[in-house]
Structure formats: C-alpha cells, structure tokens
C-alpha cells in the first residue's frame, strides 16, 4: 500500500475508521479499512464502479452498522458505530448528506424540503424558516425556485437543491455520493466549484465518493483508493501525488485513465 504524506496531517482527526469490514450477509465487500479524515479537508473515496464506495458512505452515515468485530467509526472522540439511537441522532445532526439521486422529498416544495429540517431542529417561525430556505437556495443559484416541486426542475437543479438542504443546518461534515453522476460536464464543474466554495465558507469537513477524475483532482486534499480485487485500501494520500508517485500501477492507471497498468 502506498501512502503519500498528507500535507494536512497535523490538523486534528475528524472521522476515524478502524479495521472496518463491509459485508452483505456473508459476502465480504471490503475488509481492514482504516483511515482518518482530518478536520476541514476534502477527502475523496475513489475506486472503480461497484467496488463498495457508496457502501462505505452508508457505513459512515450510519445507514449500515458494522457487526461485532467488524471495526469502529469515530467522530472526533465520540464513538459512532454501536452508539445508541439517541447518541447517533445527536452526531447525525451535524451531518449533511447529498445522495446520488438527490433524494429530495418529492411531495414537498424546495422551500419545504429545506424548511423541514429547520422545523425539526430550530425554534424559528414559519416566516423565518422560509427566509433561511430562500437564503440557502440562493447560495446554490436557485433563487426564486422556492415553490417548485422537485419533479418540476432539472436533474442538475435537483442536485443543487439537495445540496441546499444538506447545508440547511450549517453541518460540520458534508457527505457527497457521486455528486457529478448524471450531470453534464459544465453542471458537474459548477457543482465542484460550489463544493470548494462551501468548504471555504462553512469550514466543513467534506467526504466525496466519486470516480470522476476531474472532480478528484479539483477537490481532493486527501484520498483513499478501494481495490475490489484485494478487497481493501491500496493507496491513500493526496490524489495528485498518488497519480505521480504511487507504486501501485492500478492506482496510477486509474488516475491517468490508462489501460491496465500502462501509464501513458
């Protein structure tokens, strides 16, 4: 495994994963996953299609739970895996998640989608909630779309609206599952810019699951590479350094789009 030195290693650990095994029943997808996401960095989880990137995200946000002896997940110093439902809910309150499909609640308008989260966790009045929702929508370039339903706007707009919902509570950690899936190059570029912008303004830790090279290099401070053959992490470090210096030909060819093992 090649581990290029990460420049941000001195800052404090935000998410710590230790010896995580991911499994569907008796079928083991990945084992011995250990990594640290530092506070304020953009961390990329990369790997080919179907290698378990999105499943790793499900573990990180608690939709899947490691069984006994299958590893641990910590947020700061708080243990997330195996925590009680209440403790989990408390930690989750600091999350924002952007799902692959956007996952906006289709029966609610965009303003209501964002407002629902605010209703749950703040004591704002209806008018104030609407004001905050409008602000969040304007941050993602959707001012004036408050009363549209998700089905009435385009896929790229849905993604951005979902991002607005994810940042409704000014989260400390933002998760992105394949942010550019299904978007044209310009929309996905705009989304990448938006992610960078948000990192600067929110000072959030950001975890991005993706296989889009452009996004990987544009965003990534640090990354891990999941190898479905070895069923574990085969490389970690800043993506650009991995591309230029990683000893594993598979990682290099992934990052340079070369055919198997051949760097151009």
């Amino acid at each position: 495994m090649c581990a290029a030195p990460a420049s941000a290693l001195t800052s404090t650990a935000h998410i710590t994963v230790r010896n995580l095994t991911m499994a569907y029943g008796s079928f083991i997808l990945m084992r011995d996953l250990s990594f640290v996401v530092n506070r304020g960095e953009i961390f990329i989880v990369m790997g080919g299609s179907g290698c378990g990137k999105s499943t790793l995200l499900r573990y990180l946000i608690g939709l899947k739970e490691p069984g006994p002896g299958e590893g641990e997940i910590f947020y700061g110093s708080e243990r997330f895996s195996g925590a009680t439902a209440e403790e989990k809910a408390k930690i989750r309150r600091r999350f924002g998640v952007l799902y692959q499909s956007g996952a906006l609640w289709s029966s609610l308008t965009l303003a209501e989608n964002i407002g629902l989260v605010l209703e749950e966790y703040t004591d704002l009045t209806a008018a104030e909630i609407r004001e905050v929702a409008s602000l969040k929508l304007s941050l993602v370039g959707l001012k004036g779309f408050e009363d549209f339903y998700p089905s009435e706007i385009s896929g790229g707009m849905q993604k951005r609206a979902a991002l607005a919902r994810a940042i409704a509570l000014d989260p400390e950690v933002l998760f992105f599952d394949e942010p550019s899936a299904g978007l044209d190059p310009i929309s996905s570029r705009r989304l990448d810019d938006l992610i960078l912008e948000l990192r600067e303004s929110l000072r959030a830790t950001i975890v991005v699951v993706t296989h889009e090279l452009a996004s990987i290099f544009a965003l990534g401070d640090n990354s891990i590479f999941l190898d479905p053959d070895k069923k574990t992490i085969t490389a970690s470090g800043p993506p650009k350094e991995l591309r230029d210096h990683c000893a594993d030909p598979k990682v290099r060819s992934f990052l340079t789009r070369a055919a198997d093992g051949v760097a151009p």
């Binding site: 079928f27 080919g48 179907g50 290698c51 989750r92 799902y99 996952a103 289709s106 919902r165």
Partner: protein, 422 residues
C-alpha cells in the same frame, strides 16, 4: 452480423506457413459480413458449404483446413472429429491452420476455434494461429481477456436445491425479525404520539385523510350497495319458500352491520389504499428519500407511517358506516322491487332487527382493520429494496398481507364476540 470482422480485408500469412513447412501456399483471409452483396449471392446459389479437413506434416504438425462458408445458420461444429484425429494416431505437437479456402465466416468459426484452443490446452499441444484471418485472431484474443476488477454483490450460479431451501428459510427468518422490528418501531412511535411528541406534518395527515376518506366514498358505495343486493337476493330465494320474505331485511341488516360492511370496506381499502401506501413508501425507499429522512434525524416511522395509520384508523369507521347504510339500501331495493315489501316496512323491520351493539361492534372492527391495512401497506413499502420491480412486489405483498390480516382478525373477532355474547 453486420460489421463483424474486417470485411474484405486480406492478410497474407505466408511467413508462418513457411515455418510450418507448407512453402508456396497462399493463405488468404477474408471476413464477410452478412448482407454483403457477395454473401447474399452465394447464399442464394446455395453452393458454398463449410469444409473441415486435417492433414499432417512430417514434423508432427496437424494442419486444420477451414474452407467454404462458415455461417451460424448451419449450426455449430463440434471438435469430435479433431479429437479422434488427435487421439487416433501419434499425438501432434503443434496445430496450425489453413484458411485459404475460407470464403466467409462468423461466430460459428470462433466457437469452433475456442473449443480447439481449450482442447489444445488440455492436451498440451502448441497452436499456431498465424494461418487464421487477422479478425478471427483479434476476436480470439478478446475472448481470452479476463474480466477485470468488477464484482457482483451476490455470488450467483446454480445452487443445490437443499442450499436454496436453506436460503429461503434464512430469508424467511430475517423477514420475521424485520417485521417484528417494524412493529416495535410502530409501537414506540404510537407511544410518542400519545405523549404528544410524535413528529409529522399536519398537511401530510390532512392529505392522507382526504385520500383515504372522501376519495374512497364512491367505490365503497358501489361495493356496499352490491353486497347488500347480493345478500338480499340469496336470502330472498330461500326465505320466500317459507313465506318469510320480510326477514330479508333482518338478514341484510344484521349481515351488513355486524360483518359485511366493515369487511367489504376493509377489502376495498386494502386494494386501494394499502397498495398506494406500499408504492409511495417503496418509491421513497428506492429514491433514497427515506435514507435522507433517517440521516436528517427524522424517524420515517413517525413521519410517514403514523399519519397513514391515523388516517385509516379515523376514516374506516365512517366508510364502514357508509357501507352499512348503502348495503341496507341495496337490500331494500331487492325487498321493494322483487318482494313487494313497502320501503317503510323494510326500514322498520331493519331497525327492529339491528341492535346498536351490532353497529358499534362493526364500527370498532373497521377501525382495527384500518390499522392492520395501514401497517401491512407501510411495512411492505419500508421493506422494499432498490428497484422498480421491488416496488411492484411490495405493492402485491401489501394487498395480500392486508387482506389476510383483515380476514384473520375477522375470525378472531367472531370468537371473541361469541364468548362475550355480543
């Protein structure tokens, strides 16, 4: 197979042929695609057939001659002849090809060559592909390339019947555990509802109330009326023989109010609303909307299941009452139209036959049926796994389990009411 192979490309394989000792032979390779003018012409003439022959050189080389037209329509070639050739005489050390007379080829050649390749590997015979058309060689290389780094989530393949029975049993046990877990969550959510702490949107509840209440009235009316009519018909035929036609009113009144009103309303609602609940929640599961609720710290059971349960619990008694009423009207239609009973007499007879305890028993049962339908519908929706087909399965499961639950509950109520003497 249009565009298959390099159409009309020619390739001289002379070098390797010389190595093998067939000097001076011209090896010509040509791949034809179907629909090609020449191919059509030959097919219509019907002259070209596939040819396969072997000859041996002194240095132990077995040369396979492929000639004529190899088309998949003529079936696939087996390697039986070749095997006999290899086993019969001293074993060849090397296999070479001569395709000089091969006029056209498609997948039938490839399947044959793949079999030959496997055979050579098994027997430890070297094979020299140089005599083959370039397109065939390229496709053979491709077929050998191993799949890379992709894995399926479930190991597929045929499993023994015993293992499949075991899988099914494990899946059934898992599903029981899952259902119990769901019931537990529903119980917890109901408890927090009673404490006034459940969280869902009032608009959602109002919308579901409208869907399960007002919008269901026409179909409940139709079914209730017809059931009353049928009960009256069946009763009339029998009771008329004894001159007791007036008791049709008793039969329909008691039958509708005690059992059929609640039951028919429940069955209609299981098909109509239980299925809708399962499809809604199943789709939300597929589009990750339920995941989004969970990660936002909002309980999907409180947010989605509770309003649906409350709505059906509140609306079913009204629907049941309505079904009772139109059912009795259906009976009256038969009584007045067929048995010449006056409407007043019919209604008086009904009123004297039906006890208020019958009415309240029926209404109580309908509220319970409502809860059961909502729970079955929502449970199968929440259990849905990520695909469009799964949503269809969830809907089917919701209707089937809803109707089964209602009829089973009806049986339980019959016993309880009998023991209590209601």
């Amino acid at each position: 197979m249009p565009g298959f192979g390099p159409c009309g490309s020619r390739q001289a394989g002379g070098t390797s042929a010389q190595e093998a000792g067939y000097t001076g032979e011209r090896i010509l390779a040509a791949g034809w695609s179907f629909g090609d003018a020449t191919g059509m012409e030959q097919a219509s003439l019907g002259v070209e057939r596939r040819e396969l022959s072997f000859d041996r050189a002194a240095d132990g080389t077995l040369r396979i001659r492929l000639g004529g037209s190899w088309r998949i329509q003529q079936g696939l070639e087996s390697t039986a002849l070749l095997e006999r050739e290899i086993r019969g005489k001293p074993k060849p050390t090397r296999i070479a090809y001569d395709t000089g007379d091969l006029s056209e080829w498609d997948s039938s050649v490839l399947t044959f060559l793949v079999k030959v390749r496997d055979l050579c590997e098994r027997e430890g015979i070297a094979s020299d592909l140089a005599g083959l058309p370039a397109g065939v060689r390229r496709l053979l290389d491709l077929s050998r390339a191993a799949p890379q780094g992709e894995q399926a989530r479930v190991v597929s393949g045929t499993r023994s019947p015993l293992a499949r029975v075991g899988d099914a049993a494990i899946a059934a046990a898992d599903s029981v555990v899952e259902q119990l877990g769901f019931l537990g969550e529903v119980a917890l959510a109901s408890a927090s509802l009673l404490r006034g702490r459940a969280r869902f949107r009032r608009q959602d509840l109002l919308l579901v109330l409208q869907q399960t209440g007002a919008e269901a009235v026409p179909i409940i009316g139709l079914i209730g009326f017809l059931v009353g009519l049928i009960l009256a018909f069946v009763g009339a035929v029998q009771l008329r023989q004894f001159g007791a036609a007036i008791f049709v009113a008793d039969l329909v009144g008691i039958g509708m109010v005690r059992e059929m009103g609640a039951m028919m309303a429940a069955i209609v609602m299981a098909g109509r609303t239980g299925a809708a609940f399962a499809a809604q929640l199943g789709t939300m599961k597929v589009t990750q909307e339920i995941d989004a609720l969970i990660t936002m710290g909002i309980s999907p059971v409180e947010f989605l299941v509770l309003p649906r349960m409350i709505a059906l619990f509140l609306m079913m008694p009204f629907l049941c009452l309505y079904a009772d009423f139109v059912g009795i009207m259906g009976g009256a239609a038969v009584g007045v139209g067929m048995l010449d009973i006056s409407l007043n007499t019919y209604i008086e007879e009904t009123a004297s036959a039906v006890d208020p305890s019958d009415l309240f028993g029926g209404i109580f049962k309908s509220a319970v049926y409502g809860l059961l339908i909502a729970i079955c519908g929502c449970a199968s929706g929440m259990r849905c796994r990520g695909s469009a087909a799964a949503v269809g399965e969830a809907t089917t499961r919701a209707v089937v389990s809803g109707i089964v639950a209602v009829i089973a509950a009806c049986g339980v109520f019959a016993v309880i009411f009998f023991i209590l003497g209601i």
